[in-house]
């Protein structure tokens, strides 16, 4: 079957032909008694068609290779090119392995050193985080209020202004347990006393 006028490959037409022949034979009922003798066909299933298609594909591939064989320039070029390229590949592989090992080793070192540095940096950040935050809190406190000893005149005024919200103190004076802590009993004598300290 020639689809194109320039397709002169001798294997191309005959190798493809048997498949077309089989299809025609199947349509015309040729060979049907042989299949009936040894097979039970399930509806919708044609088990023998797939190997034939595969065979046809293989034949087509073989035909392509045969066609390639008819082009000596190309084959010769390939034959000539292969040893050279194999030799080059072998040489570069050998060099790559050595380089790769070196690269791997250096990569390992880099990863280890990087991990150590990263861990150290992270640890430092964690360790110094509270230092920074404490300093910042102090500075912000210093800046936002005037109870700072450097700023004596405004101290009391700002104490009032800045302490309006008890939560502003960071929870130091937060009372736990609820209640006011006082009872209602009336006692003539104390059990202990809160002296002036």
């Amino acid at each position: 079957m020639k689809n194109y006028p320039y397709d002169e490959s001798p294997e191309w037409v005959p190798r493809e032909y048997p498949a077309a022949q089989d299809r025609r034979a199947a349509q015309e009922g040729i060979g049907q008694p042989q299949r009936d003798a040894g097979h039970i066909d399930y509806p919708g299933v044609a088990p023998q068609q797939q190997p034939r298609q595969a065979q046809a594909t293989q034949q087509t591939y073989a035909g392509y290779r045969s066609a390639a064989a008819t082009a000596p320039d190309y084959a010769a070029r390939q034959q000539q090119a292969r040893p050279a390229s194999r030799g080059a590949t072998a040489g570069s592989q050998k060099m790559s392995k050595a380089k790769a090992l070196d690269l791997l080793n250096s990569l390992k070192k880099t990863i280890v050193i990087g991990a150590i540095i990263g861990f150290g940096a992270l640890s430092t950040l964690v360790a110094t985080h509270a230092v920074g935050s404490a300093a910042n809190q102090s500075q912000s406190t210093q800046g936002s209020n005037s109870i700072s000893p450097d700023n004596n005149n405004n101290t009391n005024t700002n104490t009032n202004n800045n302490s309006n919200n008890p939560s502003n103190n960071g929870g130091f004076f937060q009372q736990q347990g609820g209640g006011n802590g006082f009872g209602s009993g009336s006692y003539s004598q104390p059990s202990s006393g809160t002296g002036v300290s």
Partner: protein
């Protein structure tokens, strides 16, 4: 920083010590530590637990006393500018002190040791002379706590040059709180620990609902029923002296570095923890009647503020009916 009820030098006088009645079923223990007298009220069956409190206070004093040259505090003060790894206890107290300083915007200042020494309080108050020679010191503002570098993870502390720590009352208050926790951990359900006036209670005494606590009111005292939490008083009635004829007391104003020129005579504060009560009482005292009252109100604390004339004002839930 606390009153010494066991031995009272003449210049520490000024307060009438009321007669105390030990609740039925309770036993009183007493010992000296942290420059003051520690009193405990414990169930009679567990009276030996006073040793727990004693050892706790001894440990806290060994670490935190400024009068012990071998204490951790003294070591740190002697190494400014260096990173010093501190013990968990020291780190905890320092963290609370800095927290308190921030919360009070610097009115509570744990870095006034130099100033305290310069006004003459350079030794245990029991051995302090009531009349010291004159000094050229005219005040040096505090605020050095702002420069302290702390790393909680490593428990390292670095003091800036020229800054020295003196925890004062907050350490005592924290020790009281810690003592109650320690007693609770050994199964004691009712107890009172009083460190020279800074006290806290656990549970209630047998057959009573509250702990009757004497609060000084000039020459007298009033009994206030404390059901839970802690109470602390700051004032000038006991720890005062003169330096070259200038009246001094131990409650320093960080804005001047001198004894606070407060119009108050004493402040008593009730809070859930003794460290809170101690800091709040001191700060309110330094701020004076009006500002101190506002401070306590803003922090929702119950307190009693009394001026030199005996006039008093109360904040929060303070049982004013018990004051009359």
């Amino acid at each position: 920083m606390g009153s010494d009820q066991a031995a009272t030098p003449s210049h520490q006088a000024g307060l009438a010590s009321p007669e105390y009645s030990i609740p039925v079923g309770m036993a009183q223990g007493q010992f000296k530590a942290m420059g003051t007298t520690i009193t405990t009220l414990l169930p009679e069956a567990r009276a030996d637990a006073v040793e727990i409190v004693r050892s706790l206070f001894a440990e806290w004093e060994r670490v935190l006393s400024r009068f012990l040259p071998e204490s951790e505090l003294s070591w740190l003060n002697a190494h400014p500018g260096q990173n010093v790894i501190t013990s968990p206890l020291f780190s905890k107290v320092l963290a609370s002190a800095l927290h308190a300083a921030q919360a009070t915007q610097g009115i509570y200042d744990p870095t006034l040791l130099d100033q305290m020494v310069k006004i003459g309080y350079d030794r245990s108050f029991d051995t302090l002379s009531p009349a010291l020679p004159a000094s050229s010191y005219d005040g040096q503002p505090g605020g050095g706590w702002r420069g302290i570098q702390v790393s909680p993870l490593l428990r390292s502390v670095r003091l800036p040059e020229g800054v020295k720590l003196d925890f004062g009352g907050i350490a005592k208050g924290m020790a009281v709180d810690a003592a109650l926790v320690a007693l609770q951990q050994v199964g004691i359900e009712r107890a009172l620990v009083n460190a020279g006036g800074d006290l806290a209670v656990l549970g209630s005494p047998p057959m009573l609902e509250d702990w009757p606590i004497a609060v000084p009111v000039k020459e007298e005292s009033r009994t206030i029923p404390l059901r839970s939490g802690a109470m602390a008083t700051s004032g000038t009635a006991r720890r005062h002296w003169s330096q070259g004829g200038v009246a001094r007391h131990h409650l320093l104003d960080p804005r001047t570095g001198l004894s606070a020129a407060s119009d108050l005579w004493m402040v008593t504060v009730a809070a859930s923890r003794c460290e809170q009560a101690e800091v709040a009482a001191k700060v309110a005292f330094v701020l004076g009647m009006e500002r101190g009252k506002a401070f306590l109100q803003q922090h929702q604390l119950s307190g009693l503020l009394m001026d030199r004339d005996g006039h008093w004002e109360a904040t929060g839930y303070w049982p004013v009916d018990m004051m009359r």
